[in-house]
């Protein structure tokens, strides 16, 4: 555990170094700004939570639909996501996630594609019955979207970041507490006419 903690602190120092150097390279690029901050945020988080990671963690693979809006235009590409949760308490976990989506076209001659989304969230669980629980997510994430107008390639890739939140229900099939099935609805971005929601069905495995 001590070794893990030291390694994480080393990562943090490296991240600060990367940030400072990266800032010199290009302070104007917003996407780079997001990436470098996520990098350092993750390193800090991992380094400080390392001592408690040994409690338990889980891995989840899910798939679903992105429900996106850009003003009046609506898109619904399919997407998939991988989530890892590190439990701090029996019902409290810190999650990191990353996912990607397919393309989606509309009759407005616009192609919409989720290049990736990634972020982290605090996961709070509330048991309902022995094999069922509700959970809530509150975090921060980044979504990289490509919009292609009439085949022009414009406006292209844009990165949106902001608070994320959501929740869902989870069951333990076969009465196996290590295997979970869940349905989740999350808002990954919503501001000024640009919305990105994600509804998914996921399979989660818990490790003690």
């Amino acid at each position: 555990m001590i070794i893990l903690g030291r390694a994480a602190h080393g990562l943090e120092a490296n991240a600060v170094y990367i940030w400072n150097n990266a800032a010199r390279i290009d302070r104007q690029t917003k996407e780079f700004c997001v990436i470098k901050r996520i990098l350092i945020a993750c390193c800090i988080a991992v380094s400080h939570t390392a001592p408690v990671l040994a409690q338990s963690f889980s891995l989840e693979l899910n798939g679903g639909k992105v429900l996106a809006e850009v003003d009046k235009a609506e898109f619904a590409p399919s997407a998939g996501e991988l989530r890892a949760a590190f439990y701090l308490q029996p019902q409290v976990a810190l999650e990191v996630y990353a996912g990607a989506g397919a393309g989606s076209a509309t009759d407005l001659d616009l192609d919409y594609k989720v290049n990736y989304f990634a972020g982290g969230a605090l996961r709070l669980e509330s048991p309902l019955r022995n094999d069922t629980q509700a959970f809530f997510l509150l975090g921060y994430g980044v979504s990289d979207i490509n919009l292609n107008r009439s085949g022009t390639g414009q406006p292209g890739d844009e990165t949106f970041d902001g608070p994320t939140y959501g929740g869902g229900l989870e069951i333990s099939p076969f009465r196996n507490k290590h295997l979970r099935l869940n349905v989740t609805v999350r808002r990954y971005y919503g501001d000024n006419g640009i919305d990105l929601d994600y509804g998914s069905v996921g399979f989660r495995v818990l490790f003690d």
């Binding site: 996520i38 945020a41 850009v70 003003d71 009046k72 921060y140 979207i145 107008r149 970041d161």
Partner: protein, 419 residues
Amino acid sequence: MNKVEGYRTTRQVFLLWCLSIWLVACGGGGQDAFKDAVAVNELNVIAIDVQSDNSVIEVGMLENYRALGTVQDDPGNPIDVTSRVRWSTSNSAVASINQAGILTGRTAGMVAVRAEWADLNDSKELEVSNALLQSITIGDIPARISECGNGYQLSATGNYDDGSSRVITDDVIWTTSQLTLASIDRDGVLATFGDGAVDLIATRNDLSGTAVEGRSSVTIEDNLNDIAVSPVNPTLAVGADRSFVATGSYTNDADRVITDSVTWSSDDANVLTISNEVGARGFAEAQAVGSATVRAECDPSEDFANDESLVTVVTPATVNAVEINGGVAEVEVDLSDGDVQLEAYLKLSDGSTGDRVTDSDDISWAVVATISGTGAEVSDVSGSKGLVSFTATGITEIRARYDSDTLGPFTDTIEVEVR
């Protein structure tokens, strides 16, 4: 880990998470680009065109820029997208432009004025000049200016100390030396009310604030012979309106519509009102039953420079009947003709014909009797109401009954003879 340590750790992680969120936050971006792309495709715009009235302006002057979008399905009718595009200039020290497309010239120089909307863009060169205005020339003065005339479009050309000149019609203050005889609106359009000599004046300050005046003397001819008001003696129903037109006849000029140059009046505003408002001159509205005289007058000093029309205002006609095929009693068709369509119209109390109601929801069609031979059938189904079909000769009486929430019931019958 005991319970207390667990809570402490959770609290630390939560605070750490808040810090992480602060670190990650870089603000929004790209929203406008995405929304513009959607808007461009929503309106089906394939190109934009930057337009302005002038390619040269003086330092300190404003210039309105417009952006027109070419619509793919209707390229001949571009739409105004001025407020949607993003305006910029190549050198904001020379000229700046706001998002409403209003440009301000700041210092002398050349700039490109650019409009962008999604990946569409266009630009136009503009010169901001610090040349001093020296004189103004009034142009496009008609060879003949008739009294009680209007629509004479004048122009003003500014002459500058660097030898250049340009049209500044919209940038000068227009007036005349005798406003009782003639006036000029802000767009440089001259209107005359009487005859005589008058000076046309265009004024503008130069960059130093000194007023520069252009002046041109003209003579308004005394050549109006007569004014004719139309329609002549119309009848209007209470609540109805009508636009009157005044036409001037001239000795040595063509007849011209002078509706906007005459003064309109009604001798009984309780019965009929008539407008002298710009853009609505000659527009009359019937107020009550009675009669009123509408008068159009140009030059009060001349007896012939006016005309009148007596307007009778009556009670509005009301619907009092429904008629099949114009009220005829019988319609004859050959057996070989196939189906025949009957038509029903409302009739008004003044004898005029109102709306077609053949297929109205408020009308019902039915066969009343078979008078001889084999009877015909009439449709009462929406979309084909009044359609008569038959398979053999005979005479059939058909009825239409109109009954709406506010009118009726009215009925009419017709005999359809199939030979």
